[in-house]
Amino acid sequence: MQTKIKVELKSLYKIFGAKPDEMISRVKLGASKAQLLENYGHVLALNNINLSIYSQKIHVVMGLSGSGKSTLIRHINRLIEPTSGSILFDDNDILGMNSIELRKFRRFKASMVFQNFSLLPHRTVEQNISYGMLIQGLESDKLNRDTAKWIKRVDLTGFEKYYPVQLSGGMQQRVGIARALATDSQVLLMDEPFSALDPLIRKDMQDVLLGLQRELSKTIVFITHDLDEALRLGDAITILKDGRIVQTGSSQDIILQPADRYVAEFTKDINRGRMIKIGSIMDKKRDAAGPELDKNLSIDQALQIIDREGVSEASVSSKKNIIGTVTLSSMIRALGKPSENNPLDPSGANFVGYDKEP
């Protein structure tokens, strides 16, 4: 399945400081973030970012604090101007827009959800949700109808007249999400939207988001520092370190083929049995004797079935077609962590049938 590229960042650089334009040549010649800070007092926030964000997918950008992920997402709607590079949206150059075009772009094409919610404290829940539509200049009939629809959709019925301070964090962020979705823009920029919430609420909110996404199929750029969240939500995941992209791939890529020690270190504590899908580790041979298992089953689920059936291998299927084989031993090998010496070789798991589809 080939999907369309919605947003494309090409050799994007961002340097904070007094003379970013002079520094850019040093960076392009290979000056590191530390050197730039030490010798010239400039901060290299983004270093040669090349990223394609596909239409109707959730693209997670993950990194620790200071990795430049919040800076990155703010380039897409130009809340921050790049030092050099280009940003394409549906093949239109965003950097070429004048301020009127840019405002129009922000009103109709890309809406944003913020880490600290950034609700308007003097407006009630319904007034917050309708804010984007108000700025769009929607007529009040449609505005009121849509507001009511979104209040219902994010389960805030009865709280219409409340002010943000009166709501819990999770409820506030549901207002934030509804406010962004109500503008009906195709792209949703989410800057660590759930990081300020406690773990149980965070999980709820991830479910809310996944539910909404199944229904709406937006193009979502989602920033997080939490790997579990990234693996759970991301159709594609980009890992950022010191303003540089370390790896971009599906969750299976990140777990099974970490690009370097840094990524391997990140993924070492995850629950591999639950995260790795059998489709990612299968062998392409189609001669297995055992039961037929869907390629999206996790290793844990597959092992349970194989154990119940008392067999040692199973066929892997995609939409009822047999596409490969998994064996008990290949699954157990995949559960092992990537070896310490060579993180690029995760303990000899079989990659032949490796699934490229995001």
Binding site: N77, L79, L102, R103, K104, F105, R106, R107, F108, S111, M112, F114, N116, S118, L119, L120, P121, H122, R123, Y131, G132, I135, Q136, K161, Y162, Y163, P164, V165, Q166, R179, T183, L189
Partner: protein
């Protein structure tokens, strides 16, 4: 040695010439343009005279009803309304009704003028750091320079009367509204403004839809201070011919009438407290969105 003990001043003859020169040039300036400036302020004078007449000629029960409605609208507190009505009754009973109306007229107009000039000025200051560094020292001068000093040029230009009095009151009372408007706007959460940017709001939409509403409690603290300071200027304004409660106070000072001074002074205090309570409570009610308990 004499050089060190005696400060090497410019010499009394030169100094006299310098002062004479300044005085003369300002006198010439006021002779030249005084008429024009007076004409410029003519509409203000007419309005002030009309408003004062309106307050004085209106039947007193109507004034008391208006004051109590204002108190209720502002404070939503029966106690404040009761206090206001009682104070006005006592003031009237003690024979200070007419002077009080004159004072009310001038502080209302002064406050209105201060808001009309100070609010936009504060907005400009909040939007530009250069504007802020330009206006702040001027505000400092306005607040610290002894009022009598700026009374001199004002009187030279416009003579004695209501308009120079009004200008003197405004010079003294306008700094708080400018400062607090600036402060309030600058204190608005940057993240909220970023969100507005992300949704494509224009500068005006941000100013009127977010910044001013969120700064309103602070702006109101400024308005409250402006009212208080214009009341404090009533006596000094009386020195250049402004009618009102300041006149009897001045008479009391020069003739050592203790009771007269006390009564009129206390009347000013009473008006000050009433307006302070009304505007403070109103300012507090503007913050209901940040107060979890009374938002409903």
């Amino acid at each position: 040695m004499e050089f060190l003990v005696e400060f090497p001043s410019m010499g009394s003859q030169d100094l006299r010439d310098l002062k004479k020169f300044i005085d003369l040039s300002f006198r010439n300036f006021s002779r030249e343009y005084g008429g024009g400036i007076e004409a410029f302020f003519e509409p203000l004078l007419l309005f002030l005279v009309w408003f004062e007449k309106l307050l004085i000629s209106a039947p007193w029960p109507i004034i008391i009803i208006v004051v109590s409605c204002l108190a209720w609208a502002g404070s939503k507190s029966m106690l404040t309304v009761l206090g206001a009505v009682l104070s006005f009754l006592v003031i009237g009973y003690l024979g200070m009704w007419r002077d009080t109306m004159s004072t009310l007229a001038i502080i209302s107009v002064a406050t209105f003028l201060c808001i009309a000039i100070g609010l936009p000025l504060g907005v400009l200051m909040a939007r530009s750091n250069r504007m802020q560094s330009l206006v702040t020292p001027i505000l400092d001068i306005m607040q610290t320079i002894p009022s009598f000093v700026y009374l001199i040029p004002v009187v030279m230009l416009l003579g004695i009367g209501k308009v120079p009095g009004l200008i003197a009151v405004c010079i003294y009372a306008i700094p708080p509204i400018v400062r607090l408007t600036n402060l309030g706007l600058r204190l608005v959460n940057k993240e909220v403004l970023e969100a507005a940017d992300a949704f494509g709001a224009t500068d005006l939409q941000k100013l009127f839809g977010i910044q001013i509403p969120l700064a309103l409690p602070t702006i109101f603290a400024g308005i409250n201070q402006t009212i208080m300071m214009s009341l404090a200027m009533v006596v000094i304004a009386a020195m250049i011919g402004v009618q009102g409660l300041g006149q009897p106070v001045l008479r009391a000072i020069s003739n050592q009438y203790l009771a007269l001074g006390l009564m009129n002074g206390l009347a000013i205090v009473a008006i000050a407290i009433i307006f302070d309570r009304i505007s403070q409570k109103f300012g507090r009610r503007l913050q209901k969105h940040s107060d979890m308990n009374n938002a409903n």
